[in-house]
Structure formats: C-alpha cells, structure tokens
C-alpha cells in the first residue's frame, strides 16, 4: 500500500462528498425562496441553482458551494457592505447579475468580495457597484468573463475599481469587461497573477498597479480612459499584445512605468494617446516589436531611467517622437544587436538595400529636445517659428542638440499582428465629411466656371 492512511481517508471523504452533493433550487418553482436560506441549508460541495428573478438580499458564501444563475437572476444588495462575500475556499459563482452594494470605499464595499482562495467567478454582470470584484488577501482564483459597470453618477474619485486586488497572488483575470469605475484594475501587493483578454474603457486609470512583481498582462485592451496603465514600484512585469488606444488627458499616457525594473513590453499597440510611453526611474527594461502610433508625444523618458532598450518597434506618425526630461541625454539604447526601430519621420536612405537606413536617425529635433525641460515651449507646437528653429539647427548646427540616435533605423515597419483594431469611426461622421468636402468642391467649380467661362 503506497497511500498513507491519512491520504486515503481524505480521498474517501472527498469521494463520498461528491456522491452526496445535492442540487438545491431557489426560485418560484424551487424548494427555497431566498438564496441565503439555500446557503444555510446546503453542505460543502452542494450546488445551488437560482432561477431567473429578483432577489433582494446580501449573501455570505461560507461553504464550498457552486452557485449557478439560470437566465441571469438579479441579486440586489442592501446598499450596505458587499452584495456577495465569499469566505469559504473553492466556491463558484456564475451567471448572476449583481447590484446595489454599499458606498464605503474604506470597507471594500463590492459587488463580489473574495476573502478566500481558489474560487471561480464567472460570467456575472455587476452594475451599480462601488468596487466590482474585490480580491482581499485571496489567491488562486479565476475571474472570467464578468462585466462591471461602475456608478456613473459618482465623481470618478468617489468610485472604486472594477477589479481590485490586494495582497492576492496566483489569480487569473480573464476576458472581463470593465467601464465607468474609478480604475479598471487596481492591483497592489499582489505578485504572480495572469491578466488576459480584458477590456477596460471610459474610466480613470485602465490599470493602476503597484508593488506587485511577476505579473503577466496579455491581450488586454485599454481604450478611451484618462490614462491607460500606470505600473509602479514593481519588477519583472510582462506586457504582451495589449492595446492602449485613445487614453487622453492632461499629462496622461498609454503606459507609465515608474520605479520599475526588468520589465518586458512586447507587441503592444499604443495608439492615439496624449503620451504613448512614460518612463521614470525605470531600469533595465525592454520594449520590443511594439507599435507606437499617432500619439501627441510617443515617449516621455526621464533621464532617471537607465539602460532601457528599444528594439524593432514601429514609431509611426506621432506628433513628437520623444521628450527627455532631466539630463541632456538618457542611457537608452535604440539600436541593440537585435536591430533598430522604424521611424516614420526618418529621412535617410538605404543604398545597399539591406533594409537598414545608411544614415543614423536623430530621434528628436532641437525643439522637441528643448520641450523636455521647458514644457511651455510646446505652445509653439506646429508653428512656423518652431520649424524655422529646427531647419536652422539642421543647416547650422551651432546649438547643441539631442544625443539620442538610432544608428540602425529600419526602412520598413515591422509586421506585427495586432489583436485589436480600433473600430472605424461612425459611418455618419465619414459621410458628413464626404458631403462637406463635395460641397466645397462643388462651390469652387461652380464659381470658377461662372467667372471663367460665362
């Protein structure tokens, strides 16, 4: 016998438990009228099926249960505390619509509050909640396919986060859709989680993240927020194939790294943000094969950031490519052995046809260089005067300009399969511009015809 007797006992107990697991039905046609009475009557391992309907109650799941909603039953809380609190490990809650938790930010009032490990929270809809799903010292959970809509009528600062992780590790957050909360995901002191395929929009920070090492972010979309992702005081963070689009606010950004180390950012799309990438005091991080396009400023880098590497990225049609704040130059490497980057404003040539420009690319011009430490100069963005300074500096290099060069600029953009394409603007706006332009052309043609021919 290789099993020890204690293990055998546990196995037997589990087997018996599985056999005896009951299904309790809640609803007009079921044995129970309230979910809490079913929970009180249930034993570990039971399943509670809740039929469609409205349930005005507050739940505490204190046993290992499986709660299944049939046709989206609605649980409406008492507007005090959390609507659903999970304190027993290994429970499942799926298919509910959950509303009406309390309004106290200090007491973690959430749609679903998890205080135990190994739970599954799946396919729920949370509306009119302060926090959406709050993981409070709660590990190895799977949070998948939920939708969180915050309290739109509150000021942004008065709302909670969509998904809030505190001191929780080993969780998988997948394919959730979050909007109108304060931050989309707030993650603090929570190492080693996987965050994949979530979609976060119309709120303050898409991702607000601190003191949490070894987290992985894949295929998430952060769009139309005030800021995309703020990643602070953490190490070994991996960001892959995420999309940061239209995060626009004053001194806002697609991704911010502050006091981070050894982070890897690969194949992300950073499009149409006020600042694309923002780096402060962030060391030894790599940016590879990202597309940074159509941002007002592609990168803002404080010279306190050391040894950052940019390789094989596409920088396309940004109004300004780079601002460096602090010292004259950063220790950023733009052209490691792996290769340089593609810059849509590169004006060099490639005589030997190897796909790498023969002239090194000066990343920012004298004006953008001055802007780094004199933000007021940006008022002259796009002005003929600023351009004349740039041309003067190119022709008569008396002024000492930037030292940031890409010695191996790529001639063609790197092909990167983006996971998310921003949807085409509403057809109406396109038609409006078509009509407006046709009208202008029509007027011009008519007047010229009348003046010239008749």
């Amino acid at each position: 016998m290789i099993f020890r007797s204690r293990e055998l006992l546990i196995f037997l107990l589990l087997a018996v438990g599985t056999v005896q697991a009951e299904v309790l039905t809640v609803g007009p046609g079921g044995a129970y009228q309230t979910i809490s009475s079913a929970i009180a009557a249930a034993a570990d391992g039971d399943t509670i099926r809740v039929e469609s309907g409205s349930y005005n109650e507050e739940l505490t799941v204190d046993k290992r249960l499986r709660l299944e909603g049939i046709n989206m039953p609605i649980i409406i809380g008492t507007r005090k505390g959390s609507t659903v609190t999970m304190i027993a490990p290994g429970s499942v809650i799926s298919g509910f619509r959950i509303e009406g938790c309390g309004g106290d930010l200090q007491k973690e009032d959430a749609g679903i509050l998890l205080r135990s490990d190994g739970n599954i929270v799946e396919n729920n809809e949370l509306e009119d909640v302060l926090f959406g799903i709050y993981l409070y010292h709660s590990s190895n959970n799977t949070i998948r396919g939920n939708r969180v809509v915050g309290r739109k009528h509150l000021e942004s600062g008065g709302r909670g986060a969509g998904l809030h992780l505190w001191n929780s590790s080993g969780n998988t957050l997948e394919e959730n859709i979050i909007s109108h909360t304060r931050d989309g995901m707030y993650i603090q002191s929570s190492p080693d989680n996987t965050i994949r395929g979530n979609r976060v929009s119309q709120l303050r920070y898409g991702l607000h993240f601190m003191n949490s090492d070894d987290n992985r972010f894949e295929d998430n979309v952060f769009h139309d927020n005030i800021a995309g992702a703020a990643i602070m005081y953490s190490q070994r963070i991996e960001l892959r194939r995420n999309t940061f689009v239209r995060n626009r606010g004053f001194s806002s950004f697609g991704i911010l790294f502050q006091d981070c180390r050894n982070c890897v950012t690969e194949e992300n799309l950073i499009l149409d943000n006020a600042v694309g990438l923002f780096l402060e005091a962030t060391n030894d991080s790599v940016f590879r094969r990202n597309t940074v396009a159509e941002n007002d400023v592609a990168m803002q880098i404080f010279s306190s950031s050391k040894r950052t590497v940019f390789t094989m990225n596409n920088f396309i049609n940004n109004l300004s490519p780079l601002q460096i704040v602090g010292n004259i130059s950063s220790s950023t490497k733009w052209d490691p052995d792996e290769g340089g980057n593609y810059w849509s404003d590169y004006d060099g040539y490639d005589m030997d046809g190897d796909g790498i420009g023969d002239v090194r690319h000066r990343i920012h011009n004298i004006f953008e260089y001055l802007e780094g430490n004199h933000p007021r100069l940006r008022i002259y963005l796009n002005s003929p005067a600023a351009r004349s300074i740039v041309v003067t500096e190119k022709s008569f290099p008396i002024l000492k300009g930037s030292n940031e060069f890409d010695n191996r600029p790529l001639m063609r953009p790197v092909k990167i399969a983006t996971t998310f394409l921003p949807e085409r603007s509403s057809g109406r706006a396109g038609w409006f511009l078509l009509a407006f332009s046709s009208m202008m052309l029509g007027v011009a043609v008519a007047v010229f015809y009348r003046g010239l021919v008749r």
């Binding site: 499009l271 396009a293 003929p384 407006f436 202008m440």
Partner: protein, 275 residues
C-alpha cells in the same frame, strides 16, 4: 453704408479675382499640396493596419498657416493698388468705406473658392482613407483658415492704403508676413527666457493675442485634438482662457477684432487721402 452697392462691388471684385491667373495658380498649387499631404499622411499609417487623422491635419494646418496669410496679403495689395481701375470706382456716388468693404468681401470670396478646391480634395481623401472619431474638426479647421485669410486681407488694405505705391506695398506686405508667421514667435520665445516659469507662461499666453497666426494655430489644435496636445502648458493655457470651448470662442472673437481694427484704420486713412 449701402449693402447693395457693397455687394455689387464684391461681385465685380470676385469676377476679376477669379479671372486673375494668380488666383488660379494659387488654387491649383494649394490643391496639389493638400493632395500630397493628405494622401501620403493617410498612406503611411495604412501600412500598419490603421489610418489616422492626427498628423495629416496638423500638417494641413501648417500649410494653411504659411500660405494663406501670404496669398491674402498679395491678392489684397494687387487689388487695391491696380493701376487705372479704382479711380473710376471712387468717382461713383458711394462712400470709400463701401468700396473697401466690397473689395474685401469679393477678395475673401475669391480666396474661399480657391482654398475650397484644396480643402475639398483633402477632405475627400481623409473621409475615404482615414479613421478618426472626430471629423467635426475639419470644418472648424476650414473655418479658421478662412478667418485667417480675412485678417490678412484686412491687414493688406491697411498696408496698401498706408503705402500708396505698389512696389512699397508689396515690400511691406512681405515684411508683415514674415513678422507674423515667423519673427513674432521667435521674439516671444526669446523674451520668455527672461522670466521665471510662471511669468513666462503668462507672457506667452498674452502674447498669443498679438499674433493672428498663433491664435489660429492654437484654436485649430485645440479644436482638432483638445488641450492635451500641448501637455502641461496646455493645461495652464486652458486655465488661463477658462476652458476649451470658452478658449476657442475668445480666440475667434479676438480674431474678429484683428479683422475690424485694421479695416477701420484703413477707412480713416482713406477718407483723408486725395485720390
């Protein structure tokens, strides 16, 4: 002021301007430049799978800031100081103010029609190629360009009336163009270095109102992209102007002042002149 005689003069002026080869050359050149900018602007972005609006319209705005003041000044000078034509006009029983107003309106219509060729082509390309949420910015941008042409037409009469001679007026017009398009900003930039950050900001913001080219540029970028485009300075600017919508309104009203004041001064000067 008799509106009907102003309109009559304006129509006459428009016909003359349309038949002028320079107007046709300007319309074609402007159209070609807009075509190139909007076509290549939207094309490079297309390589990567999305197409944008941002850099393209910013470049179009730049083009307008350079060309429109220049063309307005040249067309104005040419029209006001053409030999032989206007003595007839001034001998008619209409006031000199009516002549000036009619001529400005006619020239404005001519510039509008000439730029509509380019703006129309650019708009069509952007509408079919680009992918942007806010197309409403384009008509605003066209309107601002037209206001800019009106300001410089008004300045051009002032130059013409003050100088009197054609050669001198062309020279002064070029100086006016150079001053407002480039030199003024360089002066302010240099001047701002004398102050500390806070005062320098105020100095720059107030100085915007002294230059219609700056006002159009700032109002254009504000309406196309919002104040974030200027970063921290943008936040300070909006605080100074009292918000985005109010800021654009204030800038447009100030541009109106820049149209009316030179015009009124010109009328005063012309009244006392012996033609």
């Amino acid at each position: 002021m008799e509106i009907s005689s102003v309109i009559t003069i304006a129509r006459q002026e428009l016909t003359v301007a349309i038949r002028n080869k320079w107007t046709i050359i300007f319309a074609s050149a402007f159209g070609a430049l807009v075509l190139v900018i909007s076509y290549f602007g939207t094309m490079t972005a297309g390589e990567i799978g999305f197409q944008g609006f941002n850099r393209t319209t910013a470049s179009l705005l730049s083009l307008a800031l350079y060309l429109i003041p220049l063309v307005a000044l040249m067309m104005g000078t040419q029209s006001f100081l053409n030999e032989g034509g206007d003595e007839m006009l001034y001998s008619q029983p209409i006031s000199r103010g009516e002549v000036l107003a009619g001529k400005i309106l006619g020239l404005f219509a001519a510039i509008m029609v000439a730029t509509f060729v380019g703006f129309g082509i650019g708009g069509l390309i952007i509408a079919t190629q680009a992918d942007a949420g806010d197309f409403i910015g384009y008509p605003v941008f066209v309107a601002l360009s037209l206001i800019l042409s009106l300001v410089f037409l008004s300045l051009s009469i002032l130059v013409a009336v003050a100088c009197g001679r054609k050669a001198k007026a062309y020279g002064v017009s070029l100086l006016v163009w150079f001053f407002f398009v480039i030199f003024y900003d360089l002066l302010v930039l240099g001047g701002s270095l004398l102050f500390n950050e806070r005062t320098a900001n105020q100095f720059i913001f107030v100085s915007l109102f002294g230059n219609p080219v700056d006002m159009v540029r700032v109002a254009g970028l504000l309406s196309l992209r919002g104040g974030e485009i200027f970063g921290a300075a943008g936040a300070a600017l909006l605080k100074f102007l009292g918000g985005e919508a109010q800021g654009i309104t204030i800038l447009v009203i100030s541009l109106g002042v820049w149209v009316i004041v030179p015009f009124l001064i010109s009328i005063r000067l012309l009244r006392t002149q012996d033609i």
